[in-house]
Amino acid sequence: MKETNNNSIYGVVAEFPDGESLLAAAHRVREAGYTATDAFSPIPVHGLTEALGIKPSKLAGLVLLGGIAGAFGGLGLQYAVSVEFYPHIVSGRPLFSWPSFVPVIFEATVLIAAFAAVFGMFILNRLPEPYHPVFNTPNFQKASTDGFFLSIEARDPKYDASAVRALLEKAGAVAVTEVGKHPDDPE
């Protein structure tokens, strides 16, 4: 066995047989005070996000800001073009003919809000991310078919490999592995 130091350890990953035991384990881990946790499951497990204490996504707020920016951008663009830079009377209407601006304001709102949703999602998920240490877990590809995993990372202030291992085993894990940051790091 290779010697491991704390800097090269990603954390402990445990595999569970089903969603219910994963959910139960998540509750225990949270109660034990761990915060740097995550769960991996092929199907949505109802209540898992709440059990792990994951905060609601900031994406909705970003989309709202994007929409507001789009609305004012669309209005500003049209105002600048038709009133400030190229004042031109069309069919006897005032330069600031707001009704005709509304469709463009609406479209700009939707466009920038959609951009905020897509790019915000990428940024908040830190995508693209071609490599992640959790992939070093044995059998981790099962997370997309029938495996349920729970991780506690080494950066957690309460992290202690043997205590974490004991907790997860008591919570009903079928396999508990300490995972390194690089494929050849751990045991």
């Binding site: 109802h46 709202l64 069919s91 009704p99 005709s100 509304v102 469709p103």
Partner: protein, 389 residues
């Protein structure tokens, strides 16, 4: 704000208020027929939206079987069964046709070329015959659906649910045709020169919106006790809230489409309708509509939490539902009133009179069938809920 109304309290309160309002309206009828007619048409339309919208939602639910539908099914049925009552309450409009509709005047017909051209459609006999046909169609659909759905609930037979769908598909077509022409007859023809082909669609969307807002309050009330208390979840209120939200946007979108097409065309034969609404305080009414019927509900219902909490949803929906009178006022009023601020006591009398009667009959009609339909769609939902999905 207290938005939870006990149904029993509503029944005891609505009937005397309704009788009082109707008595005041009858007195108004003897005093000033034109003011009475305008007030009555506004009050009638405000409450008619609920019966019309309910029938539309009911058929959409039977066709789609969404999970949002079975909890609101019985209230929708109770509201749609008031069609014959709304038919009878329209009689004062028929009696006051001359006060309301310019195209019934001999001297207008003699000189006005455009009205002459429209006379084969816009004439008194046609108006009365069509009024009867619309209500025969709607009443038939309302009672057929109510009877079948009660049967479906009692039998738990998927075939009966299928028959509901078979009625609803052609029913929705007949419903929409009748509603479109009804809106042309009753409201658009107040200005016989003016036309808008989206008018009927706006009328239906407005009735759907009024109905959903009203239902948000009704469902919050019904959810306080069994049998709905243990069945209804935040998800159902979320669905009702989403419908309110979507229809708020749709209503705004359609009204704005109508406006921007007429504004861009800039032809006097169409623009005068908006010009009426641009002076004498009517602009202020339009701005109030933009704030209370679009901006405020849009922003408030944008947030998920506001739709999932029935108390908050009802507190948003109730004032918006009441403010929807602004739309009726704005559709009917400018033809007769130079100044928007002339809110007559008869407006309130008709609104309270018809509303009191409508609400009393609605609350009474709710008792006619079990509040929860036990049909196949509900049992499926209950099964899903029990297994945690």
């Amino acid at each position: 704000m207290e938005t939870h109304v006990d149904l029993k309290k509503l029944r005891t309160l609505a009937l005397p208020l309704g009788v009082l309002g109707l008595a005041a309206s009858a007195f108004g009828f003897t005093q000033d027929r034109e003011t009475f007619a305008v007030s009555w048409l506004m009050g009638w339309t405000f409450w008619f939206y609920l019966s019309l919208g309910s029938l539309g939602w009911l058929m959409i639910y039977h066709l789609t079987s969404g999970r949002w539908g079975f909890v609101i099914q019985r209230p929708l049925e109770a509201a749609s069964r008031l069609m014959p009552v709304m038919f009878l309450l329209f009689i004062p409009v028929i009696l006051c046709m001359h006060e309301l509709y310019e195209w019934t005047h001999e001297e207008v017909l003699a000189t006005d070329k455009l009205v002459q051209h429209k006379a084969s459609y816009l004439n008194e006999q046609g108006f009365i015959i069509r009024w009867a046909i619309y209500f025969v169609v709607w009443s038939f659909l309302a009672f057929a659906l109510s009877r079948l759905s009660r049967k479906a609930g009692a039998e738990n037979n998927p075939d009966t649910v299928k028959r509901l769908r078979v009625i609803s598909a052609p029913g929705l077509v007949a419903f929409a045709l009748a509603a479109t022409f009804a809106s042309f007859d009753w409201l658009m023809s107040l200005e016989p020169h003016w036309f808008s082909s989206i008018y009927g669609a706006v009328f239906m969307v407005a009735s759907g919106l009024s109905t959903m807002l009203f239902l948000a309050v009704v469902m919050h009330t019904l959810a306080q006790r069994e049998p709905l208390k243990s069945v209804i979840t935040p998800q159902q209120f979320h669905d009702i809230g989403n419908w309110c939200f979507a229809f708020t946007i749709l209503w705004t979108y359609m009204n704005f489409s109508q406006f921007i097409i007429i504004w861009s065309g800039n032809l006097y034969e169409e623009t005068f309708w908006y010009l009426h609404r641009a002076k004498g305080g009517w602009v202020e009414v339009s701005i109030l509509m933009a704030i209370f019927l679009f901006a405020a509900p849009f922003i408030l219902m944008l947030f998920r939490a506001n739709k999932r909490n029935s108390k908050i949803l009802a507190a948003i929906a109730l004032p918006v539902f009441i403010f929807r009178f602004l739309e009726v006022y704005w559709l009917v009023g400018p033809t007769f009133r130079e100044q928007a601020a002339v809110f007559h006591w008869m407006d309130a009398a008709a609104l309270v009179g018809i509303g009191g009667l409508w609400l009393w009959l609605f609350a009474t009609g709710l008792k006619n069938a079990p509040l929860l339909s036990g049909d196949a769609r509900f049992t499926e939902f209950a099964k899903g809920k029990a297994s945690g999905h």
